[in-house]
Every structure is written in C-alpha cells, then in structure tokens.
C-alpha cells in the first residue's frame, strides 16, 4: 500500500502536455511571424473589450469571483467525497462511471467503449481533457475516426495544424487564411466561398450536418459536474455540442476529476463567471445539462470517464494546487503580454498561456516542462483577469524555485530583467520597437524574449515585482 500516497504525474509518451522544444526556442518561431502576432493582437484586443464591458455590468462581479474561488477551494478539500457522490448520482440516473488513473487508461476505456458499439467513427465536441490525453491519436490507432465538430477545431484539423488557444484554438488564423484552408481541404466546398465570417460558418454547417445525423457515438468533455445531483454541463456556442449530446445513441464524457462542483446551486456562480470572462458575453449561446439518461430523449447509453492523469499530484502541492481551480475561460491568455507575442504553440502543451505555464509543468512534473515557469513577465494581469482568482504569478515563482534552471532561461530572463528594471532603457526599447516597425526590422538589438515583446505597440507596464528583484531574492 505504500504507493497509495505517491504522486503520479501524467505519463510520458502519450498525450499533448509536452512540447518538442523549450519555450524560448519555440517562441522564436512565433516572434518571427508578424501575421501571427497581428492575428493574436486583433483577437485578444477584441475579446478584452467585450469582457471589460460585460463584467463592469455586474455590480457583484468581485463577490462572484471570491465565491468562485472559495467554492473551488472547498471542492479540492472534499474531492474524495464529492467524486464518490457524483458516481453514485450518475449511476442512479442510468449512467456508468469509469475511473482512469492516467492518459493511457482513459484512452483504453474510451476505445473499448467505442469498439463495443461496433462503430468506426465518433463525433467530438471540443474538450481539453481529450486533447490532453491524445484521445484522437489513440482512436485513430484503433481504426476509429474522430471527427472534431467545433468550428475552430475543424479549422485546425483541416489545416493539419495545432490548437493555440483554449477557447479559440484557431485564433492564430484570420478569416482570409480560414477561407483558404476551407477551399483547399473541405470536400464539396463552394469555390465562390468568401472570407465573410457568416459564410465561413455556413460552410462548416453544411459540411458537418450529414456527419451529425449519421454518427451514433459522441465523445465530449464537461465544464461542470454536480456531485449533489449527478448533472453534467457543457457550455458552448455553435450548437455542435448540442448535436453531440443529443443525437447519438451513446455518449462518452471524459472529465478531469477537478471539474466536479458540490451543489446544484453552485452553477449559479460559475454560469455567471465563465461566459463573461471567456467570450465576453452575458451568456454563451448554448449550455446543455443532463443527468444520466432520459428515456426517449437523447443518448440512451451514457459513460462518464473520471480522469486523474497527474491531477492528484498537483493537489499534493499546497501552493500549486489552485491551478486545478481553472474553469478554462482563457481570460488569462487574452490579457497576457507574453502569450500575445509568443502565441499558443510556443507553450508546447494543450494548455497555453499563463494557466498552461503553471498547469502543464505540474501535471508532467517540472523537469518535463522546465522552461514554462519562466514564460512570464510576472506582470500580474492574469491574476486580475482570472474569474476564480488563481494567483498565477505566485505559482510561477514557486515553480521556478522547484525547477531546474536551464542556462537559456537564465540568460534570456536575466537580460529581460535588466531591461525591464530600467524605465529609461525600457522606454528606449519601446521607441526602438516603434522605429523598427517603421523600417520593417523588428526588435533589433534586444535579447529574447524582450525582442519579441518590444516588436509590438503596447508594451506592458514595468511590473511591480521585477525580474531583477525576483532574481535577487532567490
């Protein structure tokens, strides 16, 4: 029994939590791509404006954030009982609950469940958990075709690309690029397709409709699962989620163990926080909730796969564990000056941006994502934006102290610290960046990653705790 308490990280060799290169190396590619940075800046600026407007509308936004944070802390403290209760409620409502200790086991469970239906194709609604464990790769290896139905996932799949944002995986593509991908890769597409977003959305609607109507197995993630009632919730926009959750005969939902919420009424907090922080809407177009199976309505077989894959190891670290409070809204990505310049791919994991910088290294063990805790200027914008108040900068500093310090990070960060610590030099860097833009040579003369940051118009304010202070304090 001694291994009961041993932290078990997400295993190597499966899933998408580890990149091929370190963050600074991967970021260099993105920094050399001005189109990518323009696309990212445009998208994140749009979303920030919308989120600011709809959060300012709620007089109790700060209270909701505090309650959201407290509910998540409560959940972590009672996780065993809550998961047992969830299992009991789902089972009582006609569902079947499976427990997966890691990515390999989850992939095996889902593959076997699909095999048992005799089907060779599944429709999927965007789910971070299934991307994390590499489910699509596992299904394909077993001869089962996974069809992503989310518009952005479809753009990524057709473009043979990788996701770069939690909420909007194709954020690195603009409308003209999406049109080109559709024209090139989408069977039966109208050659007169324009880059008007409604026209692009309509093309996806036509393309996927027949697949929805003819595929009897779906795989989904879950945003929330209520222990008290056994109710699952999926929050989405396009209706592809409703299609996957309603039309098939068999529904398989893969969910991280941290997604459980204690009570039904707790959803009143998260359903206010998530859409406003995420897409900047008062409410997202569609939220589906279901409890087990309902006779005569929707899938008649429901399987819930509860996934650990390193989460219990994250929970064992009292400082790092609040990374598990994340509701995957992506607000921290949209405000992050480093994300805006480096893009999502540089983080090497399905979890990019500030949350990825603290979550991925903890799921894999810091040694497998050693550069990620350095992928931040510690400016604190992510903490302010987070609807459940995760103190990401504090976790970053904590992880830097536990991580090995590769030479490259040391050098890059020291150079960045030196410049950012000196307002005069910083202003000069900003001027240089402006000049560089005019003459078409970006970030000349500054060391990475600052060269990337200064290539853009809106430099972050010098952080209150500078790299230098932090470096000196270590």
């Amino acid at each position: 029994m001694t291994f009961l308490g041993m932290p078990a990280r997400a295993p190597r060799g499966v899933g998408n939590l580890r990149g091929d290169e370190s963050f600074p190396d991967a970021a260099r590619t993105a920094l050399a791509d001005p189109q990518l940075r323009r696309n990212l800046r445009h998208a994140t600026t749009t979303i920030r404006g919308k989120t600011d407007r709809v959060t300012a509308e709620l007089p109790d936004w700060q209270e909701l954030r505090a309650v959201g944070a407290a509910l998540k802390a409560y959940t972590m403290a009672h996780l065993p009982e809550l998961l047992e209760r969830l299992e009991e409620r789902v089972t009582a409502a006609g569902g079947t609950v499976h427990w997966a200790a890691d990515a390999n086991e989850a992939n095996r469970i889902v593959t076997e469940l699909v095999r048992a239906t005799g089907q060779q194709r599944v429709i999927k609604v965007k789910s971070m958990a299934t991307q994390e464990i590499g489910l699509n790769e596992a299904l394909a290896a077993a001869g089962i075709q996974p069809v992503e139905t989310d518009l952005a996932e479809l753009i990524v799949q057709l473009g043979r690309d990788r996701p770069s944002h939690i909420l909007v995986p194709a954020i690195h593509r603009n409308r003209a690029e999406i049109r080109e991908i559709f024209l090139r890769e989408m069977p039966g597409v109208d050659p007169a397709l324009t880059d008007d977003p409604p026209a692009l959305a309509a093309a996806a609607r036509r393309y996927l409709r027949e697949t929805f109507l003819s595929t009897p197995v779906a795989v989904s993630g879950a945003n929330f699962a209520v222990a008290e009632t056994g109710t699952l919730a999926v929050v989405e926009s396009e209706g592809n989620g409703r299609m996957c959750l309603t039309l098939p005969e068999t529904l398989i939902t893969v969910m991280g163990i941290e997604k459980v919420v204690p009570r039904w009424r707790d959803l009143e907090v998260f359903l206010q926080l998530l859409p406003r922080a995420s897409t900047g809407e008062r409410m997202n177009p569609y939220t589906s909730m279901w409890t087990g199976v309902t006779a005569g309505d929707g899938p008649q077989a429901f399987h819930l796969v509860l996934l650990d894959n390193g989460r219990s190891a994250v929970l064992a670290d009292p400082v790092g564990r609040s990374a598990l409070h994340c509701i995957r809204c992506s607000a921290c990505l949209n405000v992050c000056p480093v994300y805006e310049r480096a893009g999502g791919h540089a983080y090497g994991s399905v979890y990019p941006g500030p949350i990825g910088a603290v979550l991925s290294p903890q799921l894999t063990g810091v040694e497998d994502n050693a550069s990620l805790p350095y992928a931040s200027s510690l400016c604190g914008a992510c903490f302010d934006a987070c609807p459940v108040k995760i103190d990401i900068p504090a976790i970053l500093v904590h992880l830097r102290n536990t991580a090995p310090h590769p030479r490259s990070e040391r050098a890059a960060m020291a150079a960045a610290a030196y410049t950012m610590d000196r307002p005069v030099l910083y202003a000069a860097a900003q001027r240089a960046a402006r000049l560089a833009r005019i003459v078409g040579r970006r970030g000349r003369g500054l060391p990475p990653p600052l060269s990337g940051w200064t290539a853009s118009r809106d430099l972050p304010d010098p952080p209150s705790q500078t790299f230098r202070d932090w470096w000196a304090a270590r």
Partner: protein, 201 residues
C-alpha cells in the same frame, strides 16, 4: 487495486492534514423578485433574437412561419398555432423528418431577463431536445410568470433531473477572430413571442 481506489487514495493522501477552510460566502446578488420584462426584451434583442410582444400568439406565429412546415412538441397548446399551418407533431418522428422541417415552435421553462436567456426543460410543451435543434428557425412562446430576473433565480426554478438547454440568442461562434458571428449548427433564427395572454383559451 482498481483505479477508483488508487485515485481516491492518491487524493486523500494529497489533502491529508490540511487545515479546515472557512465557509463559502454567498454575498452575491440573487436578483430582484420582480423581473424587468423590458430588460429581457432588450437583452434578447442584443444577441439577435427577434422579439414580439403581443397577445395574439397565433397571428405572430403565422407572420413568422408563412407557408413553412413546422414541428411541434406533443403538449404545445393547440390555440397557439394559426389555422392552416402545416404542423408536424413530434411523437417520436425520425430525425431526418425533424431536420427537414422549416421551423419549430415550443414553450419555455424559464427566461432570464439579465442575460437574455431562455431555458427549455423537455416537458411536453417543449418536447425532445432534438426538435429545437435541427430546424433552422425556432419560435419560443414566453409568459411573464416564466421570467426571472437572474441566473440564481433560474437555478431555483429548474429541475436538474430534466435535460436542460439554455439558449442565449441564435447559434453563434466566436471562432473567427473572436467576434460573435450568428449561425452555425443550431437554429440560425430565433424568435421569442412574449405574451400576456392566458395559457389556455
């Protein structure tokens, strides 16, 4: 050891010895007892819902549907439907027949003023989830007593054991440059008829 016990054991070990937490505060707004119907109308319209305020439901539906064929749930009040409309009652219709219809008319369980949301709970006047999903046009009839001011008050009214669909505007996506664009897989046109006429004639 099975994975269930393994995972639960790991979690118990991870949190063992932690200090107890303070109780979760609940100091956010529950919302006004009386909902603001004008706010509902405004918020619905904000996300592209076509709103009709009328006491003649049948006439409003006739004007929306024209000559199209419409799917209706088995418990829809018959007097809502204009005479002569081609209505297909869902008594377990095959999916392709539902998909081929021009529209669907349903009641709602709850409407939330602050967010411009309507919630369906699959009771007989709303029907199976798929009938409000496949046709390209969805007409909902809302009565004032179904309107609540806020999300917390909506949760109070809903039964978690029923399949619930929360709808805020027509199907949309933010996947292209993070801007909301109407119309992907769900109904691309959503009408709400807000009526103070009594349920039954």
């Amino acid at each position: 050891m099975n994975s269930r016990d393994l995972i639960l054991g790991r979690i118990r070990a991870a949190i063992a010895g932690d200090a107890p937490l303070p109780t979760v505060p609940r100091d956010y707004r529950r919302g006004a007892e009386q909902p603001d119907l004008d706010l509902l109308v405004e918020r619905l319209a904000d996300y592209g819902v076509v709103v009709h305020r009328t006491n003649d439901v049948a006439a409003a539906i006739a004007a929306i549907l024209g000559t199209g064929q419409v799917v209706v749930p088995p418990g829809l009040p018959p007097h809502w439907l204009p005479s002569g409309v081609r209505a297909l009652v869902d008594d377990g219709l095959p999916t392709d027949r539902v998909a081929a219809a021009d529209g669907v008319v349903t009641a709602v369980a709850v409407a939330v003023a602050e967010t411009g949301t309507i919630v369906l709970d699959a009771t007989p006047d709303q029907g199976r989830r798929l009938i409000s999903l496949l046709p390209d046009l969805h007409v909902c009839v809302v009565h004032p007593e179904q309107v609540v001011s806020s999300v917390p008050r909506a949760l109070d009214r809903l039964d978690p054991h029923r399949p619930l669909t929360w709808i805020s505007g027509p199907s949309a996506t933010s996947d292209i440059e993070l801007d909301r664009v109407a119309g992907v897989h769900g109904p691309r046109t959503l009408h709400v008829i807000l009526t103070e006429a009594p349920h039954d004639h």
